[in-house]
Amino acid sequence: MVQLKQGQFMQAVGNANEINELLRRYGVKFGIYKNGVFNEQFFPFDPIPRVISAEDFASIEKGLVQRVNALNEFLFDIYHEKNIVRDNIVPEDFIYISKGYLAECEGITPKNKIYSHISGIDLVQAKDGEWYILEDNLRIPSGASYPLIARELTRIAAPQAFEENNVVDNRGYAELLKETMENANCGGVRAILTPGRYNAAYFEHSYLAELTGSVLVQNDELFVEDNVLYHRTYSGGKTRIGVLYRRIADEYLDPLTFLPGSLIGIPNLMEAYRSGNVGIINAPGNGVADDKGIYYFVPKMIKYYLGEEPILKNAPTYLPFYDEDMKYVMDNLESLVIKDVAEAGGYGVVFGSDLTKEKLEEFRKTIIAEPRRFIAQEVIDFLDLPILDNGEKVMRKADLRAFVLSGEQTKVWASGLTRFSRNPDSFVVNSSQGGGFKDTWVLSR
């Protein structure tokens, strides 16, 4: 384990309540819909950082760059030649039944062939120190703003902690994001599109807009004319938008291409995009690559596109779609974790060990009836991290969302969002499931 100079650092721990109070005041909240009602809930911050050594980070970094590069190649291939299907590496069904595959995006080549500009890759560290990839998020991964603002407040609360320890400054995220946006820019200003303040990540949208000098916009301020995207200015004029970092889902993006009833989209945005007049971050259609069913194939993609051995491992995964895997899943259901490929945010995750005998049998039938809908994984015994619970240190499950940005080069942000479960018996750390977060410190040496 990494040794930190604890002396001054305990100041931050002692000031945890003050930091949380400040976060509350800054509006660092997480909104969730439950039973149709919107609730904004505070996303609790734990002051004990996760610390990653320079050496460990260097290896994670290499592995993440490799993975995201392969995923970008995959997306280009799927929306063009589809060689990976023709060469029988990925079965056709997994592509075309995936809800994330959008036939409307066939043949579109985004600027510089980058589809996933901002990738949120979720990892866990096992007790033996090995890191495993849990899932890829290539659509609208959120969460980068939380460690950013938490770091800023911790710096105020315990400045000495950063003098004593060699922590890489994570404020570079703004510059990295700006660079990435500029690389996708087709000529015009940078804009961040938010569905509005009732969105779970509204705080993040406004914060990132401020940090990157982008315009924060909602759809009713935008229009497409002559296949160019414009922002309506207060004086009645218009400003061209060259790159749109949109924080709304693909199917709502353009009511003339996708869901006709979308009230948060921009009509004819896809025409402007197809014409190469605006960059969209991330590219529409990316869902086909972060589908839980496709996850299984990512190590194969790395070999196929890059001719390299995967540096980071997947959690051992089984696809009931394959007979052999189905047999294994049926024989070991009570010890596996089963995930519904269509769900996200920690929903649709079932631990076999939590099920009663009857439920287990019922679930077995569901899997046999719809083998394509599920993946099964071994439960990884991941490393517990210390958190403060009413002033006492307790150990809880935690994961890490690493942010990988693809601009001229693919770069990993030397920080990340560490999420933990507040419930001692739970492995699910998603913020929508009531977890909390920590800052992630990457040491420079």
């Binding site: 229009f223 497409v224 009509p267 025409e271």
Partner: protein, 256 residues
């Protein structure tokens, strides 16, 4: 080969002023080995600057934006095309093998397919003709029972529908039978309005079949747009703002 003069117009009228009106038209027939355009002109009133692109399915998209107040949008397209069905179209996409929004079968439609699948043998063309036959026996042509939002499953439950519904049900059956199929919106001599039919993939090219008339297509059919189902082929789609409560659409088409 046949030379066709085509004309098609739509008048869209609102009962109050609208503004910030974005639209996307799929009205210019795509050029391909079976149809060549000798001339084609599109007029839109009120005058608006437009841009042309080609979408994922090979359709010509005309996009425009009218900022100011207006109460109508009219467009008419006329031209001359050579249609030659001795030529083959080969623009295959794997997505045509999979059910889409309008064609996804419900339990009834699945049961119907299982009932009749025994007779579905032979070449792809024979299977398609067979499915088209059983469909004609099962569904009655009738206007006013369905609309543009009716799915294959809904029309099948009614046992009634127009060309759009026949196409959706046939596509659903073909895809259940493992045959790739696509929806075609176009103009045909048999019809005074726009028509719809189906193309199925033989293994190396597309063949057209008209389920509403239970016949194969010939040089009397002009393709305007194509896609997985009606949704990809809508002749006009638009979003506008205003206090209108009603819009009227008048469509006229002529082939000669």
């Amino acid at each position: 080969m046949k030379r066709i003069n085509f004309y098609y117009s739509t008048k869209l009228t609102f009962d109050d002023y609208v503004h910030n009106h974005s639209f996307a038209l799929r009205v210019i027939p795509p050029e391909n080995p079976t149809q060549k355009l000798l001339s084609c002109s599109l007029n839109i009133d009120p005058y608006v600057s437009t841009q042309q692109t080609s979408d994922a399915f090979g359709n010509n998209v005309t996009a425009g934006y009218i900022k100011g107040d207006h109460r109508f949008l009219d467009f008419e397209i006329k031209g001359i095309a050579n249609v030659d069905n001795t030529q083959y179209r080969t623009d295959f996409m794997p997505c045509y093998l999979y059910q889409s929004q309008y064609t996804a079968p419900d339990d009834d439609l699945k049961a119907f397919y299982s009932e009749i699948r025994g007779g579905c043998t032979g070449t792809v063309t024979e299977r398609a003709a067979y499915l088209c036959d059983v469909l004609s026996d099962k569904i009655e042509y009738g206007k006013g029972f369905t609309d543009t939002s009716t799915t294959a499953a809904q029309a099948f439950a009614l046992r009634k529908g127009v060309c759009q519904d026949f196409s959706h049900i046939l596509i659903s059956l073909l895809r259940m039978d493992g045959i790739a199929a696509r929806y075609i919106a176009g103009l045909a001599f048999c019809d005074g309005e726009t028509h719809s039919w189906v193309e199925y993939w033989t293994g190396d090219h597309w063949e057209g079949i008209d389920p509403a008339n239970n016949c194969s297509i010939n040089d009397d059919y002009l393709v305007i747009s194509q896609g997985r189902d009606f949704r990809d082929c809508a002749v006009d789609r638009g979003v506008m703002f205003g206090k209108y409560t009603n819009q009227m659409q008048l469509v006229r088409s002529v082939l000669s």
